[in-house]
């Protein structure tokens, strides 16, 4: 059964997340990361969303210093969870910022994802950072499967349609 699930996985067309472009700079002790993402949900996650199953999208950002090619020292990191939901009565998609509780609604899923596709992060650094050419910022976005209902847990592991996540994309931090 599990083998058949593994076999079925690649057969289904799926959409994935990717980072299109971005940059990072530090100005007056604050880090600013701008990125443009391509977020598209596959068939199964879209259907799940329309069936009232909220999807959690998490934007991970991290500042680190590259000591060697293999060893990087993490300086600070952030997580921005957004809950994507669908409201049957109004027929609108909502995005709720889990940190602020702010919620916006959108007429289409594409509009909602387009809003999430533009990332503007501006955070005050906990410690001052000197100008260093080995300083990097990296970012990734993923669909958080741990919040899915239990019956989807196993399926989301084996079906590629549910594997929505970007790789880490890094940019050298400009000062």
């Amino acid at each position: 059964m599990l083998l058949s699930l593994l076999w079925l996985g690649p057969q289904i067309a799926h959409a994935d997340f990717s980072v299109l472009s971005g940059n990072a700079n530090i100005d007056q002790g604050s880090i600013r990361i701008n990125a443009e993402l391509d977020l598209a949900l596959g068939k199964d996650p879209s259907e799940a969303l329309l069936s009232g199953i909220p999807l959690m999208l998490i934007v991970h950002a991290e500042i680190y210093k590259l000591r060697t090619k293999l060893w990087k020292h993490k300086i600070q990191s952030w997580e921005y969870p957004y809950l994507l939901n669908y409201h049957q009565l109004s027929g609108r998609f909502s995005i709720e910022d889990q940190l602020t509780g702010e919620m916006r609604t959108y007429g289409t899923l594409v509009d909602a994802l387009n809003v999430l596709s533009v990332v503007h992060i501006s955070e005050k650094m906990a410690i001052p950072i000197a100008n260093d050419e080995h300083l990097y910022a990296r970012l990734k976005v993923q669909l958080d499967k741990s919040n899915l209902p239990q019956p989807l847990n196993l399926i989301s592991i084996f079906f590629r349609d549910w594997r929505n996540a970007t790789d880490w994309h890094r940019w050298k931090i400009a000062h």
Binding site: S51, G52, H87, Q88, L89, G91, G107, P151, L154
Partner: protein, 742 residues
């Protein structure tokens, strides 16, 4: 050994039972988690992994066990076939219901889950949703009309102060949360009015709102708000505004509508959510069920293998034990592993093997005893000087001892199992013996004794043969044992003794009156020679001379007999035979009528062990006899041959005289060495008899035969000496040996 015990442990019940318990617990926990239970929901994947791992390990264990069984079956291990059959039966008995239950359960689950989603409920929910939306649409259109009216009023207001007052008035009159003006790009155009305290910036319209306005349409949408309520966002273009301005109003739905809407939304969302999760739930259940079924199947299979092994083990042991007994291992004892019927069977087997072993031990001991007795008897028979043979009732030779071979001068081993007729045919020299035995057996005589004479190249052989019928032997009929002795020597010795006695008597009875006769004859001649008529003197002289000569002759004869009768006293020493032959021939070389001699001497001939005087006498006798026999033969020749040979593990020297004379008369050959047996007119007949007696005393042999081309052959066989030189007088042996020539 450790590997073996580790393997036995791994294939044993311990690990499998522990694993089965773990898997059963995991399966028990897996069932609620598959239903989205909050308790174990987070461990679902971990439990799945544990179950899969466990099933794999159980599968490997079961496969190993089955493979082991198949290998044992192929190797012909006793009990493996029965175990395999048991396992197969148990597997069928277990798997068939399990598969049926599995497919029934899967079908039941699928149908059961589908039945949760009643079509009517779904339709009712859809209708309710539609109804709610219709209700909201009515509100929406009312508010939209109000907003359009407000937009006209905003369009007519020019002053900023008036606009601020108007905005507040419109918000309060319309019951809006917020009213604001925006540019066509969404930028906020003050003033605005908000009913929410603490709101610094009004909620700007997004691109979809602005896009709708730009297309010349009005925008009115119900929106959910955080916290669960509903609001209405309405945006219209402000008439105659250039550039285009947008008036946006946010209207909170009445509390009753909001609550009803939230309830409807919640019910609809939950139903849709469950409907969507229907298939994943089925998959989860099927996976869980498959896992449990597979695990149950493997556990059942393993238990089947284990129980089959346990059940069949005593039978396998019994089969192995039986095979061991068949192979002759009567000490086999099997472990009694249970007290049931199989245990009783094993105990009975053990008792049986014990008894068989005891019997076998006794049998072995008696066989060993019999073998010892047989060996003892064989040793006695082997060392017995008498020949012993045993025959079956049909005349087949069964056994014989080494003395039989010696006496008959053959190897009877090659005739073992042969009949008497075959023996008669194969051994013509022993024909009288075997013919006699055959006759006695044919007449079924219980016991007999007979003297048999054999003729061979070695001479006359007198055997004293006794036969006895053996007690009846099972399956082999009555047999016979024959004991025979070579009495030739004994008879010859008796004859020699008789001759010696005769000689002594002759010497005593004849020699004593000879001297008075001779003296009387001489006295008569001496007294009456001068007194009688001269004419009669010649007769007297002839008569008395004849008497004296005959008396002398008789004296010589008596002396010879006397010598023959006297016991021989030999002084054995190492003698160079070649030198001795040379010396003796030297004595005769001046005699007339000597044959020519041809020598064929073996170089490095060992010395012989002999009495010098006796040997000289023997050679003299042989040479004189040869000379006499060749007296009238032209080109008379005697060949003298010497060589050494090992006879009966002892080195001997053989001396042969071969002449070209008439040979021995066939009738005399048997008695040529008897006293008073001679072919000569003047001979006493004692020369060869004395020679044989001397040679016998020296441990040698002498025999006579005729050559293949005629001519006499005298063969003397003497013991070789271990010493090189024994007497000082033989110092010039080397030179002397060069002498004899043809």
């Amino acid at each position: 050994m450790e590997d073996r015990s580790l393997k036995s442990y791994l294939l044993g019940p311990g690990p499998a039972i522990a694993l089965s318990v773990v898997l059963l617990i995991a399966s028990f926990l897996l069932t609620p988690t598959a239903q989205n239970s909050e308790v174990f929901g987070n461990y679902y994947i971990a439990l799945i992994i544990v179950n899969v791992g466990g099933v794999v390990v159980l599968g490997v264990l079961a496969t190993l066990n089955i493979w082991n069984l198949i290998r044992q079956f192929r190797a012909g291990v006793l009990g493996s076939q029965l175990t395999l059959r048991f396992v197969g039966s148990l597997a069928i008995l277990t798997l068939l219901p399990l598969i049926i239950v599995y497919f029934f359960a899967v079908n039941f689950l699928s149908k059961g889950i589908d039945s949760w989603f009643d079509v009517q409920i779904e339709q009712a929910l859809d209708d309710a949703l539609l109804l709610g939306q219709s209700s909201l649409e009515t509100i929406k259109y009312d508010v939209l009309e109000d907003v359009r009216y407000a937009a006209n009023r905003v369009a007519r207001t020019n002053s900023a102060l008036g606009m601020a007052r108007l905005m507040d008035e419109l918000r309060e009159d319309g019951g809006f949360i917020q009213i604001s003006q925006h540019s066509n790009t969404g930028r906020i155009l003050p003033p605005w009015s908000s009913g929410l305290t603490g709101t610094l910036v009004p909620d700007a319209p997004d691109e979809s709102v602005l896009g709708t306005i730009r297309r010349g349409l009005d925008y009115a949408k119900i929106e959910p708000v955080s916290g669960g309520g509903l609001q209405l966002r309405v945006a219209v273009s402000i008439p105659q505004s250039s550039p285009l301005r947008v008036l946006q109003v946010i209207y909170p739905l009445p509390l009753r509508h909001s609550r009803l809407g939230a309830s409807l939304q919640s019910a609809t969302a939950e139903f849709e959510r469950l409907k969507f999760l229907r298939n994943p739930l089925k998959i989860n259940f099927v996976i869980t069920l498959s896992m449990v079924a597979l695990m149950t199947m493997l556990i059942a299979l393993w238990i089947g293998i284990y129980l089959s092994r346990k059940m069949v083990a005593p039978l396998g042991n019994l089969a192995e034990g039986t095979r061991a007994v068949a192979d002759g291992n009567y000490q086999t004892q099997l472990p009694v592993m249970s007290s049931d019927e199989l245990g009783v069977l094993v105990e009975s087997f053990n008792e049986m093997t014990r008894q068989v072993n005891n019997t076998q031990t006794a049998l072995t001991q008696s066989r060993q005893f019999a073998q010892e007795q047989h060996g003892y008897l064989e040793t006695v028979l082997t060392h017995l000087s008498s020949g012993v043979m045993s025959f079956k009732a049909n005349g087949q030779l069964r056994t014989h001892n080494s003395s039989s071979d010696r006496i008959l001068n053959t190897n009877l081993d090659q005739f073992k199992g042969g009949t008497l007729d075959q023996l008669i045919e194969a051994l013509p020299t022993a024909m009288p013996l075997f013919t006699s035995i055959r006759n006695h057996i044919a007449q079924s005589e219980p016991e007999w004794s007979q003297q048999v004479v054999l003729q061979s190249r070695q001479g006359r052989q007198t055997l004293i043969c006794s036969g006895t019928r053996l007690p009846d032997q099972a399956n082999e009929g009555t047999g016979y044992v024959i004991v025979f002795d070579d009495a030739s020597e004994l008879i010859r010795a008796q004859r020699d003794a008789a001759w010696g006695d005769v000689a002594r008597r002759l010497a005593h009875e004849i020699k004593n009156p000879l001297t008075p006769i001779q003296l009387s004859a001489e006295r008569i001649r001496h007294k009456f020679f001068d007194q009688i008529d001269p004419n009669e003197r010649i007769n007297l002289d002839r008569a008395t001379r004849t008497i004296i000569e005959q008396v002398e002759s008789m004296k010589s004869l008596v002396n010879a007999f006397s010598e023959y009768a006297q016991p021989v006293q030999l002084k054995l020493s190492s003698i160079d035979l070649h030198q001795m032959i040379h010396d003796v021939l030297e004595l005769h070389k001046h005699e007339s009528d000597q044959p020519s001699y041809v020598f064929d001497f073996e170089s490095d001939l060992p010395y012989i062990l002999a009495d010098q005087t006796g040997l000289r006498q023997i050679l003299n006798n042989v040479i004189l006899n040869s000379r006499d026999a060749l007296m009238d033969i032209p080109d008379a020749q005697t060949e003298v041959i010497t060589y050494s040979a090992k006879i009966k593990d002892r080195l001997h020297v053989i001396l042969k005289f071969v002449d070209n004379g008439p040979g021995f008369p066939e009738k005399m050959l048997e008695q040529i060495f008897e006293p008073y047996v001679t072919t000569k007119n003047k001979g006493t007949g004692l020369g060869l008899a004395i020679s044989r007696r001397l040679i016998k005393e020296m441990g040698g042999e002498i025999r006579a035969e005729n050559g293949p081309l005629g001519g006499a052959v005298v063969i003397i066989q003497l013991l070789a000496s271990t010493e090189k030189i024994s007497i000082a007088s033989q110092a010039s042996v080397g030179n002397s040996l060069e002498g004899p020539t043809t």
